[in-house]
């Protein structure tokens, strides 16, 4: 077998290596109109499907998600602090950006599950009372609508409550 051919077949193998992964990525659809791939893209989606080490996102995250102001609307909560505490001790904090997204690179914090989390903004302090056991994408369990297998959005306040500092100008 020629060297070039070997290289090409390896490339093909890599590209088609994991059809389940490819399907999961495809299922999330294209980028929203006018949004570049980057920190503000795909709010509410399970980031680690693409940023879990298998691509197509280059940055690998250990934990990532999107925080909203209210359970029933897509208004993002900006400038909030997300605390993440590994059962065995190590912890990290990260801020939410203007679309409510936050992400932690695996090279910075690589937790051993279970992982405990809480969200803070000013005097607000909302905890998730049970830990996360295995998935770094918050959206794995927090999809937009509550169902038998989704708790609904991650949110911090009842509908309409004032949240000073929680928006981008």
């Amino acid at each position: 077998m020629s060297r070039a051919f070997a290289l090409i077949s390896t490339a093909l193998l890599v590209a088609c290596g994991d059809p389940v992964h490819t399907d999961a990525v495809d299922a999330l659809g294209p980028e929203a109109h006018g949004v570049e791939p980057g920190p503000l893209h795909r709010p509410g989606q399970p980031c680690l499907v693409c940023h879990g080490g298998k691509g197509p996102g280059n940055l690998e995250f250990s934990v990532a998600g999107t925080v909203y102001k209210y359970a029933d609307s897509n208004e993002p909560l900006a400038n909030a602090i997300v605390k993440l505490v590994d059962q065995s001790g190590p912890s990290t904090i990260v801020g939410t950006n203007c679309v409510g997204n936050f992400f932690v690179q695996r090279t910075d914090f690589d937790p051993v599950f279970p992982l405990w989390t809480r969200i803070q903004l000013g005097s607000l302090d909302i905890e998730m009372s049970t830990p996360v056991f295995g998935k770094g994408s918050c959206a794995h369990c927090h999809q937009d609508s509550p169902t038998e297998s989704s708790v609904g959005r991650i949110y911090v306040a009842p509908p309409g409550a004032e949240l000073p500092g929680g928006s981008c100008p």
Binding site: K83, Q87, W116, V132, F133, E148
Partner: protein
């Protein structure tokens, strides 16, 4: 104990698993995850999913008064004695382990189960 240690939506709270644990903070039957108490139907469905994992072995262990529970994959995986993606959730001798194995032995250790019914975050969380 199964709810708090096994039943989250990213573990055995998923329809595609052989061991399926239904209830409040995991997969619901007709309800919304995270809201409202675990229902009798959900306990029943969890029970069924547990007993059909290894029915013959389970019958044997139960018939022998719960001796040799490590014959069950469920117990080995929970103890981390066998490859388990979720890690060691009920180490040998822990309250969760005592809860599970006492149930199999037909002599439920109530205090161990009560202690294992919730998981607690690390100090200072």
């Amino acid at each position: 104990m199964l709810h708090s240690h096994c039943g989250s939506l990213d573990c055995h709270g998923q329809r595609g698993r052989n061991l399926r644990v239904y209830g409040i903070n995991g997969l619901r039957i007709g309800g919304v995850s995270g809201t409202g108490p675990t229902t009798p139907d959900e306990y029943e469905a969890t029970y069924r999913s547990v007993v059909v994992l290894e029915p013959e072995k389970l019958s044997r262990v139960v018939a022998e008064g719960g001796r040799g529970p490590e014959r069950l994959t469920l117990v080995r995986k929970a103890r981390g004695a066998e490859e388990h993606k979720g890690g060691t959730m009920a180490p040998l001798g822990s309250e969760a382990d005592r809860c599970l194995t006492s149930w199999i032995a037909g002599a439920l250790d109530g205090p161990a189960c009560a202690a294992a019914a919730e998981m607690w975050p690390p100090e200072g969380f």
